[in-house]
Symmetry: C2
């Protein structure tokens, strides 16, 4: 039987980019913005006059190298690979300086996956998969499979998609 295929985003899904971004911003601009403040919005929307500085963090090649792994993602993805084809699909073209850091991070934390299943892209409508687990609903619009929205502060108001709040819920969705 042919395995179904799951494409999985990196930032905010398996790598905690949002938390590091917020910590660095608070430290450098002497602010105390909380995760709660980011519900349904983005840092650059809350502080529009600092948009360039906020984006610059993501242009630093080192930013993506030491992100925390999202809790439970390694174990659940390992289990998913027994029943599904798993691809890691990240919109790296938005930050081309991040390629090497993202690759090295994946090899370090998800070394049990074949790197032939890593995809660095921009427009995710190019993906041929049955499911896409992502925190950005814009990637679901032209995706040919089912979008599964992974909860992140910025998407808290989104409706209309299957939502998973953490990796235990991913496991329940795909493996029960």
């Amino acid at each position: 039987m042919l395995m179904k295929r799951i494409a999985i985003d990196m930032d905010e899904v398996i790598a905690d980019a949002g938390l590091k971004h917020l910590k660095l911003f608070n430290r450098d601009f002497n602010e105390n913005i909380t995760v709660q403040d980011l519900m349904g919005t983005h840092l650059k929307v809350l502080r529009p006059h600092l948009e360039t500085e906020i984006l610059n963090y993501l242009k630093d090649p080192a930013f993506f190298r030491d992100l925390e792994v999202m809790q439970g993602s390694q174990q659940v993805i390992k289990e998913l690979t027994e029943h599904y084809e798993v691809f890691i699909t990240t919109a790296a073209m938005e930050f081309p300086t991040s390629f090497t850091a993202k690759y090295d991070w994946l090899k370090e934390h998800f070394g049990f996956l074949n790197e032939m299943n890593f995809v660095f892209c921009g427009d995710k409508s190019i993906l041929n998969a049955d499911f896409l687990i992502d925190d950005n609903v814009r990637h679901f619009k032209h995706f040919n499979g089912q979008g599964i929205l992974f909860s992140a502060p910025h998407n808290s108001n989104e409706t209309g998609y299957e939502r998973v709040n953490n990796w235990q819920e991913v496991k329940r969705f795909f493996l029960s």
Copy 2:
């Protein structure tokens, strides 16, 4: 009307990696292997005792940065974008040190394409496209659209796929 989508490989299709590889090898190992000698085979098959050295050229981050553009590819791809969605899809995961060079090369020579349409992947069955122009038939096996084989010395004996010998033939196939 929805545009059909063409995915286009880089090496040997829009970037002349094979010729540079052969020239460097001949120079460094004092050989005179010709393109004719490579018909239906690979350098590493002709010189198996030098396989490591032959692959090492491709691991040099600089190798991919100054490749010659395949004749006619820029003009024809520009014309294709008027009638098709065009993605550049390269198996970069085999040589992860090549990411930045490949990206910079694309921005230099194909800057008229949106970088959101660049895809660095490994297993090309992840691509959702109507056509894939590629010199490696292995990528066609599990591809969900039509494979178009772009002639390269190593694939000269392959049959069973639509074949194009150059970019004028690509133009004829898609635009006439």
